[in-house]
């Protein structure tokens, strides 16, 4: 009886807003086929042994056990966390600083905006290859040639296991900084200029304007972009794949790269799906944390 009433109310809602429903129908279909259905089917299939992507035998949690007890799993998880942490250290603040700088300057604003945004249009594989060549070890490497001019000995760059992830993050920051900066800039330009005028009249300088006006206004966006960055970097794959192949000695292999390897290198889609589901739930956890934090800040 309750179900019938629910159906009736859904149909009633659709009938009342049928024009709006038609407008969002393409998006709903796209979401269904490209996001919701793959998540559902992927999760379902991760509990089976697959042949040709068809379930042939229910294996329960075996695929999850195989993935979680793989000796590489912990290293992969640690690396992925390391990518995220380094991305926050290296990549989180430059867009904020650049946006505030561009917002403050009067001349050359458009040129700077364009210049900083330019790397965003470079495909990620191309950007990774550019940085791969810059980071080449030995005397012939681009960065080594530059530091050589100052009498500094050539560095191993990506081949130094401790440096691999931070250096990959530098390349990602170079490419991704522009788009984040534009979002901050849009928020900054939406701030009522009279507020800044008021601080100026009170004798406040750049720092005080930033603390009292800019920061409170961009804080919610910063939180949103923080979560977006964590989620984005958590799925890093193209950069380590292109620049290091996950090496040296698995020092840069990430969860997504491992999913790719399971699916496409070893033809073990079951394990790829299981690891995908694990990654999905880790990201869901982060997103829930974001919503909770957002709610708290809102209050």
């Amino acid at each position: 009886m309750k179900l019938k009433e629910t159906h009736k109310s859904v149909i009633k809602t659709i009938k009342i807003n049928w024009k709006q429903w038609i407008i969002i129908l393409p998006s709903v279909l796209l979401f269904y086929f490209m996001v919701w259905r793959p998540i559902g089917v992927g999760t379902f299939l991760s509990f089976f042994k697959l042949q040709n992507y068809k379930p042939v035998e229910f294996t329960g949690l075996q695929n999850y056990k195989d993935v979680l007890f793989d000796t590489l799993f912990l290293k992969t998880l640690k690396n992925t966390a390391s990518y995220v942490i380094w991305s926050l250290i290296i990549g989180f603040f430059p867009p904020v600083i650049l946006a505030v700088m561009i917002n403050e300057i009067v001349h050359g604003k458009n040129f700077l905006k364009f210049s900083i945004y330019l790397p965003v249009i470079v495909p990620s594989i191309a950007a990774s290859l550019i940085w791969y060549f810059m980071y080449q070890a030995g005397d012939g490497g681009f960065l080594n040639m530059i530091i050589g001019k100052f009498g500094i000995a050539p560095s191993a760059w990506l081949q130094n296991q401790k440096m691999t992830i931070p250096l990959i993050i530098v390349s990602m920051t170079w490419r991704g900084c522009g788009s984040t900066m534009i979002m901050y800039l849009a928020t900054l330009q939406g701030i009522n200029q009279e507020l800044y005028e008021a601080v100026r009249i009170d004798g406040g300088g750049l720092f005080r304007r930033f603390i009292t006006i800019t920061l409170p206004h961009i804080l919610p966006v910063m939180l949103l972009l923080l979560i977006r960055q964590i989620i984005g970097v958590f799925q890093v794959m193209v950069e380590p794949m292109t620049m290091t192949g996950g090496g040296p000695d698995n020092a840069s292999v990430s969860l997504s790269l491992q999913i790719y390897n399971y699916a496409f290198t070893y033809f073990q889609p079951e394990r790829a799906l299981a690891l995908g589901v694990i990654t999905f739930f880790l990201l869901i956890g982060i997103t829930i944390f974001y919503f909770m934090a957002d709610k708290k800040i809102g209050e």
Binding site: T71, A156, Q159, G246, F264, Y266, F267
Partner: protein, 461 residues
């Protein structure tokens, strides 16, 4: 309401059926002809090759009018293979690398062709090594072709610059791994270029390392009487082999500075005179096609010997059939292969096809002049094909004759279980010894052996 639900369900079913239909390739046309799609078809920017293939289609149709060939330009690559295979969009007949066969068979992406191979008379010509590659549980799943034994490819210019050629300009090829290190050292000292380049990523490092490890006496795995597999490479032999790789970097300093080397990077370094030697298949077309290397810089020697002998990986290509192929399609596919010269037999027609192939390669400026060292095919076939190689050779054959002799070289197929995963684990060991001067080969091999056992062999036991 019920009517609406039925309408929606019917629409969904129709869409699903349409989508399902997209996933199936045509098996027979209206006139009852057997239709096979053939992958790797030349594209429009290869007019000579395309015309050649169209000629083969006409020839086939004269003999077998009931077979219809549908060209498909898709060629094997790891990124597109799984999506195409799982959606039923693979060509009926496709070719892949020998390194991929076991994975494809285990994943169920190919058809069994034992009966058809027997009917075509090819089965009996499969050597034990070939059977190891394409067989599972006594059933055959592929038709190997272009089988080769890996060799040591050498850059004649760098050898000459280092004073390492004889009076005929033929490089003095290293015979052992010790000599290889010394030769590479001389080249590095005299020319400043890397004496040797080894791949290190994308599983290629482990793959090429097999040559060294086997030659040092490494046994990677064994199966006991109960059928259980055990990893056995935590051994002094494997440690010595990895120590050798480490020495190439830190003792002899003959490798390039870059420790992330894939196959294209290796080919590029060799073709542009940045590295003097690398392990490879005979005739690496990318050297000339992609990097415009003058063909007279090419020479190849047999693999060097280690303390346990001279071992070389077997490589090549293999034709396989879409898992949905019918018996008629497989039969037709094997006829097509015979038609294009992929057969152990020889007759005038087949020799003509082979000759056309060499002529076209010569016209395209690719290297011709190396006789096959594979034992595929009958003696008559090998002799006739060797004559054609001599006829169309465009390189000094003295540069490749030692490879053709392949003196005392034992060719080996890949390790039987989880070879790709093994390569990945060994990649990490190689990267470690090449990037960390203090890396301990014994510790790395011990961990690698334990990881391989735990992550893979224990799963199949």
């Amino acid at each position: 309401m019920l009517k609406k639900i039925i309408c929606v369900l019917l629409s969904a079913a129709t869409v699903s059926m349409c989508l399902a239909a997209c996933g199936q390739k045509e098996q027979a046309d209206d006139s009852g002809k057997t239709v096979i799609s053939v992958g790797g078809w030349p594209s429009d920017n290869q007019p000579e090759r395309k015309a050649q293939m169209e000629g083969y289609v006409s020839k086939l149709n004269e003999k077998y009018p009931d077979i219809k060939i549908e060209p498909d330009e898709w060629t094997y690559d790891t990124n597109s293979f799984v999506p195409k295979a799982s959606s039923g969009q693979l060509p009926t007949l496709y070719s892949t690398y020998l390194t991929e066969i076991k994975k494809i068979i285990n994943a169920g992406y190919c058809a069994e062709i034992t009966d058809e191979m027997k009917e075509a008379g090819f089965y009996d010509w499969l050597t034990p090594t070939m059977k190891d590659l394409v067989e599972k549980d006594g059933k055959i799943y592929g038709m190997p072709c272009g089988i080769y034994v890996m060799g040591l490819t050498c850059n004649t210019k760098l050898f000459k610059d280092a004073g390492l050629t004889d009076e005929n300009g033929v490089p003095v090829f290293p015979k052992t791994y010790e000599e290889l290190a010394k030769t590479a050292s001389i080249i590095k000292e005299k020319t400043g270029k890397a004496g040797l380049i080894l791949p290190t990523i994308n599983n290629c490092g482990g793959w090429h390392f097999m040559n060294i490890a086997w030659s040092y006496g490494t046994k990677f795995m064994e199966q006991d009487s109960d059928g259980r597999w055990t990893a056995t490479f935590d051994s002094p032999e494997a440690i010595a082999a990895l120590q050798y790789v480490k020495d190439l970097k830190w003792k002899y300093n003959v490798l390039p500075d870059n420790a992330f080397v894939d196959i294209p990077e290796m080919q590029k370094c060799f073709a542009t005179d940045q590295a003097a030697m690398y392990f490879s298949a005979p005739v690496d077309d990318a050297l000339v096609e992609t990097y415009s290397m003058p063909i007279d810089r090419y020479s190849i020697a047999p693999m060097p010997a280690g303390p346990a002998g001279r071992y070389a990986l077997t490589g090549g290509m293999c034709y396989m059939f879409n898992a949905n192929s019918t018996k008629e399609q497989i039969g037709a596919g094997l006829k097509w292969l015979e038609n294009i010269g992929v057969t152990p037999f020889v007759n005038e027609e087949i020799l003509k096809v082979t000759e056309d192939g060499y002529r076209l390669r010569q016209q395209e400026g690719k290297i011709v002049g190396i006789k096959s060292v594979s034992d595929w095919g009958n003696a008559e076939s090998k002799k006739a094909k060797s004559k054609l190689v001599e006829k169309y050779a465009n390189i000094d054959r003295r540069l490749v004759e030692q490879y053709e002799d392949n003196d005392n070289v034992t060719s080996k197929a890949e390790e039987p279980m989880n070879s790709q995963e093994l390569y990945k684990i060994l990649d990490a060991c190689i990267q470690s010894v090449l990037t960390d001067k203090n890396a301990d080969p014994a510790e790395l091999i011990k961990n690698a052996n334990s990881d391989f056992q735990k992550n893979y062999l224990d799963k199949i036991n």
